[in-house]
Symmetry: D2
Subunit: 368 residues, 4 copies
């Protein structure tokens, strides 16, 4: 392993604005981003930044994801990044991105942030929800919180195209909001009493070793966690309130499922019009997403399995109605690491660069 070489062996600069830096490359978000950009028809990986892996060659760390250039992982110095890249994907622990973003923007880079740092329009809200991170990092970037575009791609497409900084949604908000927003926007369901019961694979917990994420511990078991007060609650509520024009509160409960990838959100609401059928409701979804080839609306009675979207950037949505109780059940499956994280990042990056939004993203899984 060559740890002394200081210059990167990555691609040289070019005149196109297509050079991408990934910071936090060896976590799951980073690995996905590398996977997706490695053979991307437009973008080129020109900088890989890390922390504990600085100085190591990528191919030694990831023999299963070889890069022809076999780059060395570097320190995330914004000065250097700005010379080597046009775009930066940040895949870092919460709080850390906010320390780099102001300097990156100043130097003219455009930023995709996969953390929660810019998901709230209000820095105060962030400080309230991410209280530990707020006490660790002293943030003053109120303006950037206002400026950042919340990157739920299908809902903020045009703003994303022009953004300097896009803050990608959490995995749970992505899966939960996609089926819910059309009904909230059109006022078809009651604003009160929305229940979101979500289920995620273990890769959502990241690559840093934790006892609870060991195969021995999490295999052959399902359990709830973060019951009442999980941080994604507020993120869901922010956009749901914005779209509906109401103050929405949701009851959100995540569960850990013994699988690597995949996230399923089951959302319960009450219909305003008890006569609305499942087919009607399906039409609502179909209409909103008809030009989105990566949003699949399943036939009534077909329910999504997370395996069906694994490694793709798709969301598969289904809706059912219980005439008896007047309730609607919305189901949404995504790959937590792709549409729920790095894939949505690339989708946004594509828009920022003026490309077709699904460029370089898988639209169907390898089954089984």
């Amino acid at each position: 392993m060559n740890t002394t070489t200081s210059k990167s062996s990555l691609e040289p600069q070019n005149s196109l604005k297509n050079r991408v830096a990934i910071i936090g490359a060896s976590g799951y978000g980073g690995i996905q981003s590398v996977s997706l950009l490695k053979d991307h028809p437009y973008f080129k990986l020109t900088f890989l930044g890390g922390n504990s892996s600085v100085g190591k060659r990528w191919n030694n760390l990831f023999p299963f994801l070889r890069l022809n250039s076999d780059p060395i992982i570097e320190n995330a110095e914004t000065e250097i990044i700005s010379k080597k890249a046009d775009y930066v994907i940040l895949s870092l622990p919460n709080g850390l991105a906010s320390q780099l973003v102001p300097s990156l923007l100043e130097r003219g880079l455009r930023v995709i942030d996969l953390s929660a740092d810019y998901r709230y329009r209000s820095l105060d809200k962030w400080c309230e929800v991410y209280v530990n991170e707020a006490s660790k990092w002293n943030r003053k970037d109120h303006d950037l919180c206002q400026e950042a575009v919340y990157g739920l791609t299908e809902w903020h497409t045009s703003n994303i195209s022009k953004a300097r900084i896009v803050s990608c949604p959490g995995c749970f908000p992505t899966a939960s909001l996609l089926p819910l927003l059309p009904f909230l926007k059109q006022g078809l369901i009651e604003y009160e009493g929305i229940i979101i019961d979500a289920k995620t694979g273990t890769s959502g917990g990241g690559r840093t070793p934790k006892e609870s994420m060991l195969l021995s511990e999490s295999s052959e078991s399902i359990s709830p966690y973060g019951v009442v007060g999980h941080r994604h609650t507020s993120e869901i509520e922010q956009l749901a309130s914005e779209i509906s024009g109401q103050n929405i509160q949701v009851q959100f409960t995540p569960h850990l499922v013994p699988m690597v990838r995949g996230l399923l959100s089951t959302v319960y609401g009450r219909l305003r019009d008890p006569g609305l059928t499942a087919e009607d409701s399906r039409t609502v979804l179909e209409t909103v997403y008809r030009n989105q080839p990566h949003i699949d609306i399943l036939p009534v009675g077909v329910y999504p399995a997370t395996k069906w979207v694994r490694q793709t950037n798709k969301a598969m949505l289904s809706v059912q109605v219980d005439q008896r109780t007047g309730r609607i059940v919305l189901m949404s499956a995504i790959d937590n690491l792709i549409k729920g994280q790095a894939g949505q990042g690339i989708q946004n990056l594509n828009l920022m660069a003026g490309l077709e939004q699904y460029t370089g993203l898988l639209s169907s899984t390898f089954y089984p």
Copy 2:
């Protein structure tokens, strides 16, 4: 394999009323029942009845569950069963039990039925919910539907002790009703709008091969099924209504989880008194179940994992309250094949024989 021998090599009769027959011995319910009775301090297995495996020796079929007597699996003829057993456990497809039960009771046997055949007080209701089975089997046993005791042990203990026939609850009703009933009974939650989001391992789907239950299909995936109208809905509503004295309707959605055993039910309701805290709610559960060593009420903030109850007859309950939304979240984990099926059967059998109800049942799992 000796398929010509016609007489069973099982235990001879004795004067105690402790002889048990299991019909449907080679499905998962049957295998669990054999496991639990094999070394039971009181009961003796004296008859194993089957269908496709008739004539085969048990130990050839189940080298991992050897019985010293190595019995031959026999046809379920009630005349013969009545000579060899005092109690019968029926672990059969829905509809089939009803063809045996009248004759078994007539001959003086006492019956534990693991199917749905006697779970409804009204035969008409059964015919409505189990419409396919009803069209296949011509049932006239209205009286037995009335007589049968619904075997949610902790709630019908004294009736079970005296019953001729106990109908054991489904796995989802067991897990869902245990945390919910105390709140319904005391009128602490609203009768409308109860949501039950449940998650089960694949063994709930039985041992008969189905494409959707192949490891290749169901591993690394989670999906909802039977959304709106799953048959356990009506079963949950029957007892919930009876205990509350109200006409309760619930929204029940099961999900298939990539694990062998285990069932988690997450139940959402609205508190009548918004001031009720999580600790208060925990006390409600603690009070109702304080004399039930197999019902564990977890501390507030500790949430049950199905792995914690695997292979035991326990239910682990936890409760959380969201003061902000006025909602209560009840969580309940069981082993679907034990407390959710055969274990509760043995628990009821113990009561019928005048034994301590947990005799022969595991109270703690092997972890991990």
Copy 3:
């Protein structure tokens, strides 16, 4: 589901020889083939043949693998196939392919067979090894057995390019032969005493429901099967003998592993020259496969995980030497459904059409 439409809605004919029919499209081999050809830059899917699914629309059966043309699955009539396709991929139970191949070749089609029907140069050998199939199907196609090219791509590249029929190797032979052949060819290991201990995921057992392949049965367990006399033994020996010029016998034992995809073969042999080091041995592999971008030779001391090659057409090889015992340990990981089945089929199809052999095949996995 539209079952009355009789004409296919698949692509029209064109002048390029790029139309492919898949027969047996709804098994795992067929599904992979569809996945790989769906977005292939050269080939077009023009016919999907099935059996139990005839008359059904593809997108109804496979909502997770939508085809724009939403074709209807048709009967495999060779007359019709010959009008719609230039190439045929057969993914059928053993014995069945032999009933179609003569007629397909007569009509000028070129065939990729994924079954075992043409893996032996001698029909007599096939009848001996596949004795049940031989008694069911009356085969007389001695000549075709002689003509068919054994499609271990890296070893028969030029013959494959010109072949009318390519018989793709079994998954175990593919994984086991790739690391072994270089040492046999160069006479570096003893011809006697080769041990192959192989491990496969459950998808190798196919999509037809079997009790032993249920998640409930095969999860959380590993077991050997087909010990002594598994049919892939003779297939491994045929090519090993051909390449070495010796009569090679191997001891082959497969094991079933609780995972969907992936196959690992651990091969033990004795070095002829006890001084040969692990690095030397690695060089042997490196030299043979240096122009094969889909064969990765790992550094000494790095051992392949099947997860590293999942969904790719790669084989990852590693070698270690025990100076103390004079033994060599060869390790080889593939995806049993891709390089072990349909992917190698497409690799061969690419060669037959004069394309670069890896066209349309993934070279890196999505991790984790």
Copy 4:
């Protein structure tokens, strides 16, 4: 959590020699030991020693394995242990046990060590194999290495009964030696060229978080590790050589399997008498183990699945012979945490206390 209470609330002393201390109680070995002793008919748990968990109450750490006494985990001070216990089970990282054992023995306690510290008759050998541990801990207890009995129970029964210290075998040696030793002892197989290909679940890697043991990393994958030179090689060779009277060298390769528990060893050897059949070989095993109810010899053609022995103290053995190659294939399945670790510890403890060796140990699994 009460961390201030300094006195244990565990059982008081009694006159029987039945008090057991467990040191290292919160690792997997410790947890199993607690599970097995919790309801043991003879032994009582009177001391739980730990490291990072000192001062915490057991039931807070392990809500799924409640002890009525809810003991506090204590520092492992030998003086205190000697007052509270008659026997000590050590479940500690390698090297650490050797720091406690001399003092424990001096104080009259009898010791079951689950680590590798006393598995070699020669301290020099230990220092050679466990070189890192040897450099960390300065050991001089040559005599104790000589005195310690290697606790492969079925082979050293009488010595174990009288021992002051029993060193329990590793999981791989246990599984591999049980089927192999009878053939070595009787000289039925060649002493050279024995190959052991073993497969273990992840719990063998312990409870300390490691990246490679995360579900996200190890699920859906199989890989070899420790190829050539794994430390259990020398342990297997020591007893194999002792029993055969020859200098035995084996080729041992472990593999990591995506399951929690279970270990399968596939052992290959060459028969001296090529006429020995599988049935003959089965008789060899049957004869040696006929009085061992926890060693199951499966019928020829039935191969063990690790699921069949999960949570039991059983070893399931099977043998097959390839007349064509003159080779024997031995298969052996155990639960790595029970017969491969803590269960064998209790089996030995039973013997030391004069009890029937299988007291308190499960003989059949809960299936599936």
